[in-house]
Amino acid sequence: MFINGSWQKPLSKKYFDTINPATEEKLSEVAEASAADVDKAVKAARNAYDKTWRKMPARERAKYIFRISRMIQEKARELAIIETLDGGKPIRESRDFDVPTAGNHFFYYAGWADKLEYAFPNRQTTPLGVAGQIIPWNFPLLMAAWKIAPAIATGNTVVLKSAETTPLTALKLAEIIQEADLPPGVVNIITGAGATGAAIVNHPDINKIAFTGSTDVGKIIQRAIAGTNKKATLELGGKAANIIFEDAPIDQAVEGVINGIYFNQGHVCCAGSRLYVQESIAKEVIRKLKDRMESLIVGDPLDKNTDIGAINSRQQLETIHKYLQIGKKEGADMYESSCPLPRKGFFCRPTMFTNVAQSNRIAQEEIFGPVLSILTFRTDDEVIEKANNTPYGLSAGVWTDKGSKIFNMTRRMRAGVIWANTFNKFDPASPFGGYKESGFGREGGLHGLLPYLNLVNH
């Protein structure tokens, strides 16, 4: 674990294994942080906040963060390989998306550090203090970047816990942070599971909790910090509607739907897991989706040609299988690609359900796997009603060639990120975050600064 600028053994003396989900082989043992370890990390963060980081001229803070970004770019290759080994995602995605986007995120926020006075009209800003950050296993390095970069650019210090199944790239990032000579304690990276996360949430000297994960845990956190002055940003689950109108460019839409649900094995909170197709084109779209699904390669994540890698963990694979059973029981028709699966490791064929009813659990609940539910509609009003009829509100998609219809739909869909004629696009400059039970606060862009700042009246 990386605490106060150095590598420390856990006070708990406990370790746990992290495995490669594509082979089920053990990769290494990592420390399990106890409440005492969390306390140590928080003390280091508080000390760094009080003595160094908040006092440092903002332009100097910026330079450290720029430096981290540059080093991520330098070490992109090893980061990508570790990410794929530990998490199971295709190397093409970790190489072309996760790692570069993580580096860019640091670069983007580095530049904000000394420009905060321009961000909020008629207000001055002050940092919050120590931020406790808990990240998920679907984009381990990228989520670490999304959390750390804005927090330290705005003058806070950080205790970050990586996910239980994917601790390695965060530890590699800690190495980079050490090499970048960031003052000790500004960023502390610890490893552990749920109990470690709870110790962060409940630590009395933390000013801010930033969490990405499931809606259930988000609610537990919100309850746990009631009665404290901790601020929170929660980036939680989703069940995005992806809507195709009959006037859409069908081939592009099909490609977008495939990318929307099978990107990263469907382990994406904003995945386009509910497809709404206008009735008149439903047959054609489903046929083309099936054709395209057949061409997806499932297998060794380290192979550059692989489209769909390993499911992140046995537990997650079981969850997905449970939902496949539920879908069949509910009467939907299941179709899965005929591709062969590797003998070892956690793999799942790309799957879709047709004849799905709005009330089916596979159309309501987040599956977090390569499973698409397809529903049909006739009119604009009907599809808006159906698309918005969910407790979630993270993302949504719409496909049509008609400009005025795009704006009608994008305005009426109740979600924080809307992709029109595209899907699953991310950028450091673009705010991300949900409506309703998908959480609150934004990450990315100008709007991603506010969750780490107090606004002060002149």
């Binding site: 992709w419 595209t422 696009k425 950028d427 400059a429 705010p431 609150f440 709007h447």
Partner: protein, 317 residues
């Protein structure tokens, strides 16, 4: 209550002076203080009332003691009004807020007499009313401006047009401040509706008169029914129902009671309502108004669309 009412009626003079002689005998018509839901003035469905008194021990009125059912009815009205109100042109919302200020100005005397009965002094009542009117005008002006201030076109690296805009959250439950019976109420409501939300407000328990009269102002201001719904009653009874309601998007609490704040935050987790505590704000001062208060009940929506690439072409045209 009766005493002061008679005194006042004796002072009234009609235009032709004929009624002057009979006025001392004329019994004043007392106002029934009802609640305001969906643009209507029903009594509470519970049939209950309470009778707040001022410092002098005078009864203020028999005021509706709203129930959880009233709150749920009000949320239905607010949700129903949300699409229309949030879909209106921001300019139009601004005009309606301005109209509210006009109507309030026109009924100054009534509000001042109510504030006086609720233990205010003449000077303080005058000031509170002026501030309330000016606050509505302040927010009327913001309706079609805050979006420009807090929006962004985001320079993403890929070939996409990408922009972020604030959008109203939906239905907001407000527990108005107990102190400033009118100013607090107006200051809590105005930023919420200026941003296109609809709301259900629980008025001050001890000083409820102005809230009901303010509902009459709303009702004559072209504000669509259901945008603002006003209940009277006891926060202790209603807050948990407000915070647990699954169709409320945000809750605003204006008092400084730490155990209530903790329980609001805890119960809000049921559907992850956004929670705002305004106990630190002094409504009488400039800090009581700000576009950042509008932004509290806004979500940021980010929209992406591809830009066609002209293959191989640079920017030279």
């Amino acid at each position: 209550m009766a005493k002061s009412a008679i005194k006042k009626s004796a002072l009234r003079v009609s235009e032709n002076g004929l009624e002057k002689k009979t006025s001392s005998k004329r019994l004043e018509v007392l106002k029934t203080y009802k609640i305001y839901i969906g643009g209507q003035f029903p009594r509470t469905e519970s049939g209950r009332y309470y009778t707040p008194v001022n410092k002098a021990g005078e009864k203020l009125a028999n005021v509706c003691l709203s129930s959880r059912k009233d709150f749920r009815d009000a949320v239905v009205a607010a949700r129903g009004a949300f699409g229309g109100w949030s879909g209106r042109a921001a300019f139009n919302r601004g005009q309606i807020l301005y109209r509210m200020a006009e109507m309030l100005e026109g009924r100054k005397e009534q509000f001042i007499s109510e504030l006086l009965r609720q233990d205010s002094t003449k000077a303080a009542a005058q000031k509170e009313l002026n501030l309330a009117i000016d606050r509505l005008i302040y927010y009327a002006g913001w309706c079609d401006k805050f979006q420009q201030l807090f929006s962004a076109v985001n320079p993403v690296a890929s070939s996409h047009f990408n922009f972020s805009v604030p959008e109203p959250m939906g239905v907001v439950a407000i527990v108005a401040p107990q102190g400033d019976g009118l100013l607090g109420l107006v200051s809590a409501i105005a930023p919420v509706i200026a941003g296109g939300n609809t709301c259900v407000v629980l008025a001050s328990e001890t000083k409820p008169l102005c809230s009901v009269t303010f509902a009459e102002v709303l009702n004559s201001s072209d504000l669509p029914g259901g945008v603002v719904n006003i209940l009277t009653g006891k926060p202790a009874e209603l807050i948990s129902g407000m915070v647990n309601h699954m169709d409320v998007n945000a809750t605003i609490y204006c008092e400084n009671n730490s155990s209530v704040k903790a329980s609001i935050r805890e119960q809000s987790a049921v559907n992850l309502k956004r929670i705002y505590f305004y106990d630190h704000l002094n409504w009488q001062k400039d800090e009581g108004q700000s576009p950042y208060l509008i932004m509290d009940t806004q979500e940021i929506k980010t929209t992406w669309h591809p830009i066609e690439n002209i293959a191989g072409a640079g920017g030279s045209y």
